[in-house]
């Protein structure tokens, strides 16, 4: 294996919404084929999935609305009443969502108008960081369902070091930050080590360790280790000011420097995955562990690294949440971040830039959901429904295509539209079908596999000709390892 980091030929997917760009510098394809490319691309599926999910949730809101139910009673007498009520329920909810998430046009001053947007960014901060961790694990072919536990460990470490030490400004924040990362890394590495050396399945491990972490947190918050002095409630002391992230726009807004950290983390994740040797190894193992092993990459090492980095980022998210937004630790600190992160990573197609935008979108849904609940009485739980529908639709592009009668991508292109994370079998089958028998993987084919895999992530590579030597990538990032006697 060459030591130099490879330079994948495929460019980064530009965000989530615009994954389709015909290659520049090539003879312009005719109009119809451009249209076809756009319609069958991942970007379209993503946008349609979001629209479809919002529509379904809107339908739920309308159906459960009391005015609508009342007016439906005399629907055949005066149908316009019900339609008007339905429209008001629908638009009321989504306008409130918009006002809470992006721009409050009803506010009296400028600060009030843009506050929702900063709220969205505040909520998105830990979500983006933790989702980057999940995405990196995905790239290595690992399902880190344990974001919650690693988040909690990061938050616990950060809180303990934040509360029990007294250091000058700057240094203290740095110590808390490093400890948060270490906490998450510790909990993530446990999974990586067990997976690498015993073959235990990371999904089961992480789910179980989430609950262990939750109970440990509850225990520590009920003892003097973390509990605030003079209270019996399970809450910690407030972090001192020098261990907190400074506010970004002054007292009027909750937005803190953690958001900048989230941007930096995105850049780091991108660099790690696309430009570093470590990232290359992770992706190679994720694409095809057996081939990676043949090529001389330590699969065990990759699993441990991936889980450590993934956990570290989750820990950083926990730290950012405690030190930035919350200021103290409580039993529900992790909320649903761990599971939201999985949906964010999937929506962003495990691509750091995509994750950034997906995290912002889900942050907006959360922030807007609060406003929606207070102003229109629609429970914030609808946000969960929206999120899960988005991911379901995104994970099954054929379904969205069937619903909207979009053209299916050609057989040669199936490789690109089948996500290797969500649809390993499709991705594997398409490549196997295109290239016939998979050749014995060599160093060169490894690079090709990784390049192909990153191309599969939503970049429209204009050249559909399959490389003959391509091994079947990702015919189960998961399944390939089963030869080691993996537990489920």
């Amino acid at each position: 294996m060459s030591t130099a980091a490879p330079q994948p030929t495929a460019s980064e997917a530009p965000g989530t919404a615009s994954g389709t760009q015909p290659g520049a510098g090539r003879p312009a394809p005719d109009q119809a084929s451009v249209m076809r490319q756009i319609l069958s691309g991942n970007g379209t599926v993503t946008v349609l999935a979001i629209v479809l999910s919002l529509l379904i949730s809107g339908l739920l809101i309308v159906v459960t609305d009391e005015d609508v139910q009342e007016t439906a009673g005399y629907f055949f007498g005066r149908p316009t009443d019900m339609l008007a009520a339905a429209w008001s329920a629908f638009s009321g909810a989504f306008l409130a969502l918009f006002r809470g998430a992006i721009f409050n046009y009803e506010a009296s001053n400028f600060e009030g108008m843009i506050r929702p947007l900063t709220e969205t960014m505040t909520v998105a901060t830990p979500l983006i960081i933790i989702s980057l961790g999940i995405a990196i694990a995905f790239k290595a072919g690992l399902f880190n369902i344990g974001g919650q536990g690693q988040f909690i460990f990061g938050a616990m470490f950060a809180t303990w070091f934040g509360v029990s030490m007294d250091l000058p400004f700057g240094v203290h924040l740095l110590v808390v930050l490093v400890m948060g990362v270490l906490g998450g890394m510790l909990w993530g590495s446990v999974v990586g080590l067990l997976k690498a050396y015993t073959g235990a399945h990371e999904v089961i491990l992480t789910i179980m360790l989430n609950y262990v972490a939750l109970n440990l947190l509850a225990y520590l918050l009920n003892t003097d280790v973390l509990r605030r002095e003079g209270t019996t409630n399970p809450v910690s002391e407030f972090l001192p000011q020098q261990a907190r992230f400074p506010l970004l726009f002054g007292e009027g807004f909750r937005l803190h420097w953690g958001f900048v950290l989230a941007l930096a983390a995105t850049a780091f994740a991108w660099w790690l995955l696309q430009r570093s040797t470590v990232g290359f190894r992770l992706r190679a193992v994720g694409a095809n562990p057996a081939a990676a092993r043949t090529a001389g990459i330590s699969v065990k090492g990759a699993y441990i690294t991936a889980m450590a980095v993934s956990g570290g980022l989750a820990g950083l998210a926990g730290m950012a949440h405690v030190s930035g937004t919350e200021g103290s630790l409580n039993t529900s600190v992790a909320g649903s971040f761990g599971f939201d992160a999985i949906t964010v990573a999937l929506l962003g197609r495990s691509n750091p830039v995509g994750v950034l935008f997906a995290g912002l979108l889900f942050g907006a849904l959360r922030a807007g959901g609060v406003t929606m609940q207070t102003q229109t009485g629609v429970p914030i739980d609808i946000v969960l429904v929206v999120q899960s529908f988005i991911v379901l639709f995104i994970a099954a592009p054929p379904l969205v295509r069937t619903i909207f009668r979009l053209p299916a991508p050609g057989a040669a292109k199936a490789r690109r539209t089948a996500d290797p994370v969500t649809q390993p079998a499709v991705a594997g089958a398409a490549v196997a079908g295109a290239s016939g028998e998979a050749a014995v993987p060599s160093v060169e084919t490894q690079e090709a596999a990784v390049a192909a895999e990153s191309a599969a992530d939503g970049v429209e590579d204009p050249d559909p000709a399959p490389t003959a030597a391509e091994p079947a990538p990702a015919a189960g990032a998961d399944t390939q390892t089963s030869e080691k006697g993996e537990t489920r």
């Binding site: 739920l60 459960t64 009391e66 399902f143 369902i145 067990l194 015993t198 073959g199 235990a200 399945h201 999904v203 089961i204 491990l205 789910i207 179980m208 360790l209 609950y211 262990v212 109970n215 440990l216 509850a218 225990y219 009920n222 003892t223 649903s336 599971f339 999985i342 949906t343 999937l346 629609v378 429970p379 739980d381 609808i382 946000v383 969960l384 429904v385 999120q387 899960s388 529908f389 991911v391 379901l392 994970a395 099954a396 054929p398 379904l399 994370v421 969500t422 649809q423 390993p424 079998a425 499709v426 089958a429 189960g476 998961d478 399944t479 089963s482 006697g485 537990t487 489920r488």
Partner: protein, 438 residues
């Protein structure tokens, strides 16, 4: 059990033969059980036996109105703890000797070990608590009540995973069942219709799992995780908008009464859990038995297991792989739906937000700890139900062990199980892999 035992034998014999033959490398793996048993025996020695409480532990058994009223059993803490600990040490020594010869302790001996540890733990806890008396029958019945939905959930998991579809969505299926049972049961006033609706809801959730993972080949773990979130979101949303405002009409479900079998229900300790159950409790026994028989004694079971282990081979001999998977996943949904109904039609008075609270994941743990065997999962679920119940008992007794550690137990045990520290727990080979016919 004999079929599984026989199976294990054939599976175990091959590596054993290899061990005795040439290299002793695979022997390393088999040391984990004696090591683990040593750790727990030392724990028992240090904590329970040497640190035995001065108080005796009293276990009340009789329920007022029992036919035969048994007197409370007072266990002298120190001597009993020493006996139990020595028994554990003896089993551990035997395990070491056997492991050196490349063999293992029989399952019943390991079961005895676990029992001794649990008993020692219980005596120690009760002896050192502020209140030295505990109602044993209530403790067991309570554990059992907590275990019933776990058992239903784990049967659902086994049904679907034995056919090769990983079912992380047990939690969602339970929750959907609980919600629907409460709503429909209240609206119609009939627990039976509520149960039927819960089954339909469980099937609905599992049909999503089936369609997405079998037809659209989406990764099964992802679908499972997302379905859980979806069901939590949907039920919470509908609870706030529909159930909570009309709780008298829509969220006060009728309950299944307990059917007490005369005489048999009077048997001390086990009478209540075996012969004084609701219809769902009895149904649970029936399902566990049927599923075990079906999986290991019938042609259907053989086919299902073949599909879960090696779908290609199964396809070659003419088994319809996809159909088998669909049927099993949907059946699993039905069973989990019943388990969900247990929450609102038997144990709790009404539906509340996220009332399953991670039980689906404990059920998943029971599947793994029970090694994908209905009987094994049944006992694993009982153990986990006991651990959950101990949390509440601890709070009442005022014990030295924090309740959170009890709550952790099922999860820690499962981590050990999948890591191969308490015997190897290996699932169906093809679970998690979509099948694409070539």
């Amino acid at each position: 059990m004999s079929a599984t035992a026989a199976e294990k034998k054939t599976v175990a014999e091959t590596p054993d033969a290899a061990r005795r033959g040439k290299d002793d490398k695979p022997l390393v793996r088999s040391w984990s059980t004696p090591i683990l048993q040593t750790v727990f025996a030392l724990l028992s020695l240090g904590l329970f036996a040497i640190g035995a409480p001065a108080h005796d532990a009293e276990f009340r058994i009789a329920t007022p109105g029992d036919l035969i009223e048994l007197a409370a059993v007072t266990v002298p803490a120190a001597p009993t703890l020493w006996v139990l600990t020595l028994a554990m040490i003896a089993i551990t020594v035997l395990a070491w000797v056997r492991a050196a010869a490349g063999r293992k302790n029989p399952v019943w001996l390991n079961g005895l070990y676990v029992f001794a540890f649990v008993a020692a733990f219980l005596i120690w806890v009760v002896g050192s608590a502020t209140n030295n008396s505990v109602y044993l029958t209530g403790l067991i019945a309570g554990s059992f009540a907590l275990a019933v939905p776990l058992i239903f959930g784990s049967m659902a998991g086994i049904l679907s995973e034995r056919s090769g579809v990983v079912n992380i969505a047990i939690e969602g299926q339970l929750l959907a069942g609980a919600f629907t049972a409460a709503m429909v049961g209240s609206a119609t006033g009939s627990a039976w219709i509520g149960l039927a609706a819960a089954i339909v809801a469980g099937v609905a959730v599992s049909s999503l799992l089936a369609v997405f993972s079998i037809k659209y080949l989406v990764n099964q773990v992802i679908v499972g995780v997302v379905l859980n979130v979806l069901v939590i979101g949907l039920t919470s949303f509908l609870f706030s908008t529909v159930l909570a405002p009309n709780s008298s009409e829509l969220n006060s479900p009728p309950h299944f009464p307990n059917i007490r079998i005369p005489f048999l229900a009077e048997i001390p300790i086990i009478g209540r859990i075996l012969f004084d159950q609701s219809i769902l409790g009895y149904g649970m026994y029936l399902i566990v038995g049927l599923l075990w028989f079906g999986l290991f004694r019938t042609r259907w079971g053989l086919r299902v297991r073949a599909v879960g282990e090696h779908p290609k081979a199964a396809d070659t001999v003419g088994i319809d792989v996809l159909r088998t998977r669909y049927v099993n996943v949907l059946l699993g949904g039905a069973v989990a739906g019943m388990g969900g109904a247990f929450f609102t039609l038997v144990s709790a008075s009404s539906f509340s937000k996220e009332m399953t609270a991670g039980q689906g994941f404990i059920a998943l743990a029971a599947v793994i700890f029970g090694r994908w065997n209905p009987i094994g999962a049944f006992f694993a679920a009982l153990l986990f139900g006991f651990a959950t119940n101990m949390q509440y008992v601890f709070a009442i007794l005022g014990t030295p062990v924090p309740s959170q550690f009890m709550a952790m137990l099922p999860y820690v045990v499962t981590v050990f199980a999948v890591a191969g520290l308490v015997g190897r727990s290996r699932g169906p080979a093809a679970a998690g892999t979509p099948y694409v016919k070539e």
